[in-house]
Protein backbone atom coordinates (compact mmCIF):
# COMPACT_ATOMS: atom_id res chain seq x y z
CA UNK A 1 0.00 0.00 0.00
CA UNK A 2 1.56 3.27 -1.12
CA UNK A 3 -1.11 5.82 -0.31
CA UNK A 4 -1.10 7.90 2.86
CA UNK A 5 -4.19 7.03 4.90
CA UNK A 6 -5.43 9.66 7.31
CA UNK A 7 -6.38 8.64 10.86
CA UNK A 8 -9.97 9.84 10.38
CA UNK A 9 -12.66 7.13 10.38
CA UNK A 10 -16.15 7.80 9.00
CA UNK A 11 -19.27 5.85 10.04
CA UNK A 12 -23.04 6.17 10.22
CA UNK A 13 -25.10 6.13 13.38
CA UNK A 14 -28.90 5.84 13.48
CA UNK A 15 -30.22 8.49 15.82
CA UNK A 16 -33.68 9.00 17.27
CA UNK A 17 -34.41 12.73 17.07
CA UNK A 18 -37.77 13.63 18.57
CA UNK A 19 -39.28 10.26 17.65
CA UNK A 20 -37.90 9.98 14.13
CA UNK A 21 -34.86 8.01 13.02
CA UNK A 22 -32.06 9.81 11.20
CA UNK A 23 -29.02 8.21 9.60
CA UNK A 24 -26.20 10.52 10.66
CA UNK A 25 -22.73 10.48 9.17
CA UNK A 26 -19.86 11.28 11.47
CA UNK A 27 -16.08 11.19 11.37
CA UNK A 28 -13.80 10.72 14.32
CA UNK A 29 -10.22 10.31 15.42
CA UNK A 30 -8.34 10.11 18.68
CA UNK A 31 -9.13 8.95 22.19
CA UNK A 32 -9.93 10.79 25.38
CA UNK A 33 -12.34 13.58 26.18
CA UNK A 34 -15.15 13.60 23.59
CA UNK A 35 -14.97 16.76 21.48
CA UNK A 36 -18.00 17.15 19.21
CA UNK A 37 -17.58 19.66 16.38
CA UNK A 38 -20.49 21.45 14.68
CA UNK A 39 -20.16 22.77 11.14
CA UNK A 40 -21.41 26.11 9.85
CA UNK A 41 -24.73 26.73 8.11
CA UNK A 42 -24.96 25.21 4.65
CA UNK A 43 -21.73 23.22 4.95
CA UNK A 44 -20.75 19.88 6.52
CA UNK A 45 -18.28 18.15 8.80
CA UNK A 46 -15.45 18.23 6.28
CA UNK A 47 -14.68 21.70 7.64
CA UNK A 48 -13.06 19.96 10.63
CA UNK A 49 -10.76 17.62 8.74
CA UNK A 50 -7.58 19.36 9.82
CA UNK A 51 -8.55 19.28 13.48
CA UNK A 52 -9.54 15.61 13.11
CA UNK A 53 -6.15 14.82 11.60
CA UNK A 54 -4.21 16.65 14.31
CA UNK A 55 -2.11 13.98 16.03
CA UNK A 56 -1.37 16.08 19.11
CA UNK A 57 -5.03 16.85 19.82
CA UNK A 58 -6.02 13.25 19.08
CA UNK A 59 -3.84 12.01 21.94
CA UNK A 60 -6.18 13.55 24.50
CA UNK A 61 -9.48 14.06 22.68
CA UNK A 62 -11.90 11.83 20.82
CA UNK A 63 -12.62 14.37 18.09
CA UNK A 64 -15.97 13.86 16.38
CA UNK A 65 -17.57 15.85 13.56
CA UNK A 66 -21.02 14.94 12.28
CA UNK A 67 -23.03 16.13 9.32
CA UNK A 68 -26.36 17.61 10.36
CA UNK A 69 -29.39 16.03 8.64
CA UNK A 70 -29.75 17.49 5.11
CA UNK A 71 -26.00 18.21 5.08
CA UNK A 72 -23.01 16.35 3.66
CA UNK A 73 -23.59 12.59 3.86
CA UNK A 74 -26.52 12.81 6.33
CA UNK A 75 -29.62 12.60 4.18
CA UNK A 76 -32.99 14.11 4.99
CA UNK A 77 -35.18 11.68 6.96
CA UNK A 78 -37.16 9.01 5.09
CA UNK A 79 -40.40 10.86 5.85
CA UNK A 80 -39.31 14.10 4.17
CA UNK A 81 -41.90 15.13 1.59
CA UNK A 82 -39.98 18.01 0.02
CA UNK A 83 -41.35 20.76 2.22
CA UNK A 84 -38.99 23.63 2.93
CA UNK A 85 -36.26 22.75 5.39
CA UNK A 86 -36.04 25.07 8.37
CA UNK A 87 -33.70 24.64 11.31
CA UNK A 88 -35.03 25.83 14.66
CA UNK A 89 -33.39 26.31 18.03
CA UNK A 90 -35.38 23.39 19.46
CA UNK A 91 -34.56 21.03 16.58
CA UNK A 92 -30.87 21.96 16.52
CA UNK A 93 -30.57 21.40 20.28
CA UNK A 94 -32.45 18.08 20.05
CA UNK A 95 -30.16 16.91 17.24
CA UNK A 96 -26.93 17.59 19.13
CA UNK A 97 -28.16 16.01 22.35
CA UNK A 98 -29.56 12.98 20.51
CA UNK A 99 -26.29 12.47 18.63
CA UNK A 100 -24.25 12.66 21.84
CA UNK A 101 -26.67 10.25 23.53
CA UNK A 102 -26.55 7.81 20.61
CA UNK A 103 -22.76 7.64 20.87
CA UNK A 104 -23.00 7.46 24.68
CA UNK A 105 -20.62 10.36 25.06
CA UNK A 106 -19.83 11.26 28.66
CA UNK A 107 -20.14 15.02 29.13
CA UNK A 108 -18.55 15.92 25.81
CA UNK A 109 -16.99 19.24 24.90
CA UNK A 110 -18.99 20.79 22.07
CA UNK A 111 -17.32 23.22 19.69
CA UNK A 112 -19.51 24.89 17.05
CA UNK A 113 -18.88 27.51 14.42
CA UNK A 114 -21.31 30.19 13.21
CA UNK A 115 -24.76 28.60 13.73
CA UNK A 116 -22.77 26.09 15.78
CA UNK A 117 -21.31 28.98 17.75
CA UNK A 118 -24.81 30.26 18.39
CA UNK A 119 -26.28 26.92 19.46
CA UNK A 120 -23.55 26.26 22.02
CA UNK A 121 -24.89 29.34 23.80
CA UNK A 122 -28.29 27.67 23.93
CA UNK A 123 -26.67 24.48 25.22
CA UNK A 124 -25.01 26.60 27.91
CA UNK A 125 -28.32 28.21 28.82
CA UNK A 126 -30.45 25.06 29.07
CA UNK A 127 -28.17 22.03 29.33
CA UNK A 128 -24.87 23.18 30.81
CA UNK A 129 -24.49 20.20 33.14
CA UNK A 130 -24.41 17.80 30.17
CA UNK A 131 -21.16 19.26 28.84
CA UNK A 132 -17.58 19.49 30.06
CA UNK A 133 -16.96 22.74 28.21
CA UNK A 134 -18.49 24.67 25.31
CA UNK A 135 -16.59 26.49 22.58
CA UNK A 136 -18.30 28.99 20.30
CA UNK A 137 -16.44 30.05 17.17
CA UNK A 138 -17.89 33.07 15.38
CA UNK A 139 -20.68 33.00 17.92
CA UNK A 140 -22.93 35.67 19.39
CA UNK A 141 -26.42 35.96 20.81
CA UNK A 142 -27.52 37.83 17.68
CA UNK A 143 -25.99 39.56 14.70
CA UNK A 144 -27.39 42.06 12.22
CA UNK A 145 -28.37 40.61 8.81
CA UNK A 146 -26.30 41.77 5.84
CA UNK A 147 -28.21 40.22 2.93
CA UNK A 148 -31.64 38.91 1.98
CA UNK A 149 -31.63 35.10 2.32
CA UNK A 150 -34.33 34.72 -0.36
CA UNK A 151 -31.48 34.94 -2.92
CA UNK A 152 -30.16 31.61 -1.68
CA UNK A 153 -32.87 29.38 -3.11
CA UNK A 154 -34.73 30.47 -6.24
CA UNK A 155 -34.81 28.81 -9.66
CA UNK A 156 -33.28 31.74 -11.56
CA UNK A 157 -30.13 31.96 -9.42
CA UNK A 158 -27.58 29.14 -9.11
CA UNK A 159 -27.79 28.18 -5.46
CA UNK A 160 -24.30 26.76 -5.14
CA UNK A 161 -22.68 29.73 -6.82
CA UNK A 162 -24.54 32.38 -4.87
CA UNK A 163 -24.12 30.65 -1.50
CA UNK A 164 -20.37 30.35 -2.04
CA UNK A 165 -20.04 33.89 -3.39
CA UNK A 166 -21.89 35.36 -0.43
CA UNK A 167 -19.71 33.68 2.17
CA UNK A 168 -16.44 34.08 0.25
CA UNK A 169 -15.95 37.56 1.68
CA UNK A 170 -16.24 36.31 5.24
CA UNK A 171 -12.76 34.81 5.07
CA UNK A 172 -9.58 36.67 5.84
CA UNK A 173 -7.52 37.84 2.85
CA UNK A 174 -4.47 36.23 4.44
CA UNK A 175 -6.02 32.74 4.39
CA UNK A 176 -4.41 30.40 1.83
CA UNK A 177 -6.15 30.30 -1.55
CA UNK A 178 -6.46 26.50 -1.52
CA UNK A 179 -8.09 26.47 1.91
CA UNK A 180 -10.45 29.27 0.91
CA UNK A 181 -11.44 27.35 -2.22
CA UNK A 182 -12.01 24.15 -0.26
CA UNK A 183 -14.19 26.01 2.24
CA UNK A 184 -16.32 27.38 -0.60
CA UNK A 185 -16.56 23.99 -2.33
CA UNK A 186 -18.81 22.67 0.44
CA UNK A 187 -21.13 25.65 -0.12
CA UNK A 188 -21.25 24.89 -3.82
CA UNK A 189 -22.30 21.33 -3.00
CA UNK A 190 -25.07 22.03 -0.49
CA UNK A 191 -28.63 20.87 -1.16
CA UNK A 192 -31.14 23.43 -2.44
CA UNK A 193 -32.50 25.60 0.34
CA UNK A 194 -30.39 24.01 3.06
CA UNK A 195 -28.17 27.04 3.73
CA UNK A 196 -31.27 29.22 3.73
CA UNK A 197 -33.03 26.79 6.07
CA UNK A 198 -30.10 26.89 8.51
CA UNK A 199 -30.22 30.66 8.46
CA UNK A 200 -33.83 30.53 9.65
CA UNK A 201 -32.31 29.48 12.97
CA UNK A 202 -29.58 32.11 12.71
CA UNK A 203 -31.72 35.04 11.63
CA UNK A 204 -35.23 34.38 12.92
CA UNK A 205 -35.63 31.65 15.51
CA UNK A 206 -32.33 31.70 17.37
CA UNK A 207 -32.19 35.21 18.79
CA UNK A 208 -30.69 34.65 22.23
CA UNK A 209 -30.57 38.28 23.33
CA UNK A 210 -31.87 38.52 26.86
CA UNK A 211 -31.25 34.81 27.53
CA UNK A 212 -27.47 34.50 27.61
CA UNK A 213 -27.41 36.22 31.00
CA UNK A 214 -28.62 32.90 32.45
CA UNK A 215 -25.39 31.14 31.48
CA UNK A 216 -23.41 29.94 34.49
CA UNK A 217 -19.82 29.34 33.42
CA UNK A 218 -19.07 27.71 36.78
CA UNK A 219 -21.28 24.82 35.70
CA UNK A 220 -19.74 24.66 32.24
CA UNK A 221 -16.82 26.79 31.03
CA UNK A 222 -17.54 28.80 27.87
CA UNK A 223 -14.91 29.90 25.36
CA UNK A 224 -15.79 32.32 22.57
CA UNK A 225 -13.35 32.89 19.69
CA UNK A 226 -14.09 35.13 16.70
CA UNK A 227 -12.03 36.03 13.67
CA UNK A 228 -11.23 39.70 13.10
CA UNK A 229 -12.36 39.46 9.44
CA UNK A 230 -15.79 38.04 10.25
CA UNK A 231 -18.25 40.79 9.36
CA UNK A 232 -21.24 38.47 9.84
CA UNK A 233 -20.53 37.70 13.48
CA UNK A 234 -18.23 40.57 14.26
CA UNK A 235 -15.76 40.71 17.15
CA UNK A 236 -18.06 43.38 18.61
CA UNK A 237 -21.02 40.93 18.48
CA UNK A 238 -19.01 38.35 20.39
CA UNK A 239 -17.67 40.86 22.93
CA UNK A 240 -21.19 42.19 23.56
CA UNK A 241 -22.46 38.65 24.09
CA UNK A 242 -19.62 37.79 26.46
CA UNK A 243 -20.15 40.98 28.43
CA UNK A 244 -23.57 39.68 29.42
CA UNK A 245 -22.12 36.38 30.63
CA UNK A 246 -19.99 36.24 33.75
CA UNK A 247 -16.75 34.33 33.25
CA UNK A 248 -16.91 33.70 29.51
CA UNK A 249 -13.49 33.69 27.82
CA UNK A 250 -13.21 35.84 24.68
CA UNK A 251 -10.47 35.68 22.05
CA UNK A 252 -10.37 37.73 18.86
CA UNK A 253 -8.38 35.77 16.30
CA UNK A 254 -6.12 37.76 13.97
CA UNK A 255 -5.96 36.99 10.25
CA UNK A 256 -9.03 34.75 10.43
CA UNK A 257 -12.62 35.14 9.36
CA UNK A 258 -15.87 33.20 9.70
CA UNK A 259 -14.43 29.73 8.95
CA UNK A 260 -11.27 29.55 11.07
CA UNK A 261 -10.89 25.76 11.15
CA UNK A 262 -11.08 25.37 7.37
CA UNK A 263 -9.96 28.71 5.88
CA UNK A 264 -6.60 28.67 7.68
CA UNK A 265 -6.16 25.56 9.85
CA UNK A 266 -2.61 26.48 10.84
CA UNK A 267 -3.57 29.91 12.10
CA UNK A 268 -6.64 28.51 13.89
CA UNK A 269 -4.49 25.93 15.65
CA UNK A 270 -2.57 28.72 17.37
CA UNK A 271 -5.80 29.87 19.00
CA UNK A 272 -7.61 26.61 19.72
CA UNK A 273 -4.61 24.80 21.19
CA UNK A 274 -4.50 26.88 24.42
CA UNK A 275 -8.27 26.40 24.84
CA UNK A 276 -7.97 22.63 24.58
CA UNK A 277 -5.01 22.77 26.99
CA UNK A 278 -7.19 24.61 29.54
CA UNK A 279 -9.92 21.99 29.20
CA UNK A 280 -7.35 19.25 29.71
CA UNK A 281 -5.90 20.98 32.76
CA UNK A 282 -9.37 21.40 34.28
CA UNK A 283 -10.07 17.74 33.67
CA UNK A 284 -6.78 16.74 35.28
CA UNK A 285 -7.65 18.84 38.32
CA UNK A 286 -11.13 17.38 38.50
CA UNK A 287 -9.92 13.83 38.39
CA UNK A 288 -7.16 14.47 40.90
CA UNK A 289 -4.30 13.91 38.53
CA UNK A 290 -2.66 17.11 39.70
Amino acid sequence: MNGVIEPIIGRYVHVDIDGEMYRIYFEESGTGIPLVCLHTAGSDGRQWRHLLADEAFAKNFRIIAFDMPWHGKSNPPASWDGTEYQLTTVRYTQTIRAFCKALQLDRPVVMGCSIGGRIVLNLAIDHADEFRALIGLEGADFQAPWYDTSWLNRPDVHGGEVCAALVSGLMAPQSPATSRAETLWAYKQGGPGVFKGDLYFYRVDGDLRGRVEKIDTKVCPLFLLTGEYDFSCTPEDTRRTAAAIGGASVTIMEQLGHFPMSENPEQFRRYISPVLDKILAAEAERTGLR
Binding site: W146, D156, A164, A165, G169, P173, Q174, F231
Partner: protein, 138 residues
Amino acid sequence: MISASNATDAAVIAAFAKIPALLDQAPALFVRGRFLDCECLLGPINHAFHASIRQGRIVDLTPSPVLMRSWRFSYRASVAAWAEYWRPAPRPGFHDLLALTKRGEAVLEGDLHPFMTHLQYFKDVLALPRRDFATAVS
Protein backbone atom coordinates in the same frame (compact mmCIF):
# COMPACT_ATOMS: atom_id res chain seq x y z
CA MET B 1 -18.17 57.31 5.74
CA ILE B 2 -14.42 57.68 5.86
CA SER B 3 -12.85 60.42 3.74
CA ALA B 4 -9.98 60.41 1.28
CA SER B 5 -7.51 62.95 -0.04
CA ASN B 6 -7.85 64.53 -3.50
CA ALA B 7 -4.86 62.49 -4.67
CA THR B 8 -6.53 59.27 -3.59
CA ASP B 9 -9.73 60.44 -5.28
CA ALA B 10 -7.90 60.84 -8.58
CA ALA B 11 -6.04 57.54 -8.15
CA VAL B 12 -9.27 55.63 -7.53
CA ILE B 13 -10.95 57.14 -10.58
CA ALA B 14 -7.89 56.35 -12.70
CA ALA B 15 -7.82 52.79 -11.37
CA PHE B 16 -11.46 52.28 -12.28
CA ALA B 17 -10.84 53.42 -15.82
CA LYS B 18 -8.27 50.63 -16.20
CA ILE B 19 -10.60 47.80 -15.11
CA PRO B 20 -11.83 46.89 -18.65
CA ALA B 21 -8.25 46.38 -19.85
CA LEU B 22 -7.36 44.36 -16.74
CA LEU B 23 -10.45 42.22 -17.30
CA ASP B 24 -9.46 41.59 -20.91
CA GLN B 25 -6.20 40.14 -19.57
CA ALA B 26 -8.05 37.77 -17.21
CA PRO B 27 -9.71 35.14 -19.42
CA ALA B 28 -10.58 32.83 -16.51
CA LEU B 29 -12.58 35.69 -15.03
CA PHE B 30 -14.39 36.99 -18.10
CA VAL B 31 -15.29 33.41 -19.09
CA ARG B 32 -17.17 33.15 -15.79
CA GLY B 33 -19.26 36.08 -17.00
CA ARG B 34 -19.91 34.66 -20.48
CA PHE B 35 -23.68 34.62 -19.94
CA LEU B 36 -23.75 38.19 -18.62
CA ASP B 37 -24.97 41.15 -20.67
CA CYS B 38 -25.72 44.08 -18.42
CA GLU B 39 -25.73 47.86 -18.01
CA CYS B 40 -24.61 48.89 -14.54
CA LEU B 41 -23.24 51.82 -12.59
CA LEU B 42 -20.01 51.13 -10.72
CA GLY B 43 -17.39 53.14 -8.91
CA PRO B 44 -16.97 55.97 -6.42
CA ILE B 45 -20.25 57.40 -5.15
CA ASN B 46 -19.78 60.81 -6.74
CA HIS B 47 -17.74 59.67 -9.76
CA ALA B 48 -19.40 56.45 -10.89
CA PHE B 49 -19.01 54.90 -14.33
CA HIS B 50 -21.64 53.48 -16.65
CA ALA B 51 -20.39 49.99 -17.52
CA SER B 52 -21.68 48.02 -20.50
CA ILE B 53 -20.92 44.35 -20.03
CA ARG B 54 -21.24 41.93 -22.95
CA GLN B 55 -20.44 38.24 -22.52
CA GLY B 56 -18.46 39.01 -19.40
CA ARG B 57 -16.31 41.78 -20.88
CA ILE B 58 -16.67 45.49 -20.17
CA VAL B 59 -17.06 46.85 -23.68
CA ASP B 60 -17.70 50.42 -22.59
CA LEU B 61 -16.92 52.37 -19.42
CA THR B 62 -18.10 55.98 -19.44
CA PRO B 63 -18.04 58.46 -16.56
CA SER B 64 -21.49 59.39 -15.28
CA PRO B 65 -23.70 61.29 -15.64
CA VAL B 66 -24.79 60.45 -19.17
CA LEU B 67 -28.08 62.00 -20.18
CA MET B 68 -30.98 59.55 -19.73
CA ARG B 69 -28.73 56.49 -19.66
CA SER B 70 -30.29 53.51 -17.88
CA TRP B 71 -28.69 50.93 -15.62
CA ARG B 72 -30.01 47.78 -13.96
CA PHE B 73 -28.05 47.97 -10.75
CA SER B 74 -25.44 50.17 -9.18
CA TYR B 75 -22.67 49.42 -6.73
CA ARG B 76 -20.97 52.53 -5.47
CA ALA B 77 -18.60 53.04 -2.56
CA SER B 78 -16.73 55.93 -1.02
CA VAL B 79 -13.35 56.71 -2.56
CA ALA B 80 -11.66 55.85 0.71
CA ALA B 81 -13.47 52.50 0.79
CA TRP B 82 -12.18 51.60 -2.69
CA ALA B 83 -8.69 52.57 -1.64
CA GLU B 84 -8.98 50.28 1.38
CA TYR B 85 -10.56 47.47 -0.68
CA TRP B 86 -7.62 47.57 -3.07
CA ARG B 87 -4.91 47.31 -0.42
CA PRO B 88 -2.93 44.04 -0.72
CA ALA B 89 -4.48 42.90 2.57
CA PRO B 90 -7.50 45.11 3.23
CA ARG B 91 -8.43 45.94 6.80
CA PRO B 92 -11.28 43.94 8.40
CA GLY B 93 -14.59 45.31 7.19
CA PHE B 94 -13.05 46.70 3.99
CA HIS B 95 -12.19 43.33 2.41
CA ASP B 96 -15.49 42.48 0.70
CA LEU B 97 -18.15 44.33 -1.32
CA LEU B 98 -20.87 43.29 1.12
CA ALA B 99 -18.73 44.11 4.13
CA LEU B 100 -18.63 47.64 2.71
CA THR B 101 -22.41 47.81 2.30
CA LYS B 102 -22.91 46.49 5.83
CA ARG B 103 -20.69 49.18 7.31
CA GLY B 104 -22.32 51.93 5.22
CA GLU B 105 -19.30 52.61 3.00
CA ALA B 106 -21.09 51.38 -0.15
CA VAL B 107 -24.59 51.37 -1.59
CA LEU B 108 -26.14 48.64 -3.73
CA GLU B 109 -29.25 49.71 -5.61
CA GLY B 110 -31.57 48.76 -8.46
CA ASP B 111 -32.41 45.34 -9.91
CA LEU B 112 -29.93 43.11 -8.12
CA HIS B 113 -30.53 40.00 -10.23
CA PRO B 114 -27.48 40.32 -12.51
CA PHE B 115 -25.33 41.23 -9.52
CA MET B 116 -26.44 38.21 -7.50
CA THR B 117 -26.24 35.72 -10.38
CA HIS B 118 -22.64 36.85 -10.90
CA LEU B 119 -21.70 37.83 -7.37
CA GLN B 120 -18.21 36.30 -7.28
CA TYR B 121 -17.56 37.65 -10.78
CA PHE B 122 -18.33 41.20 -9.66
CA LYS B 123 -16.30 40.79 -6.47
CA ASP B 124 -13.34 39.67 -8.54
CA VAL B 125 -13.75 42.22 -11.34
CA LEU B 126 -13.94 45.06 -8.86
CA ALA B 127 -10.86 43.71 -7.08
CA LEU B 128 -8.75 43.77 -10.26
CA PRO B 129 -6.99 47.07 -9.42
CA ARG B 130 -5.70 45.54 -6.16
CA ARG B 131 -2.51 44.28 -7.78
CA ASP B 132 -1.32 47.72 -8.88
CA PHE B 133 -3.21 50.23 -6.76
CA ALA B 134 -0.79 50.35 -3.83
CA THR B 135 2.03 51.21 -6.21
CA ALA B 136 -0.08 53.83 -7.96
CA VAL B 137 -0.84 55.80 -4.78
CA SER B 138 2.63 55.50 -3.23
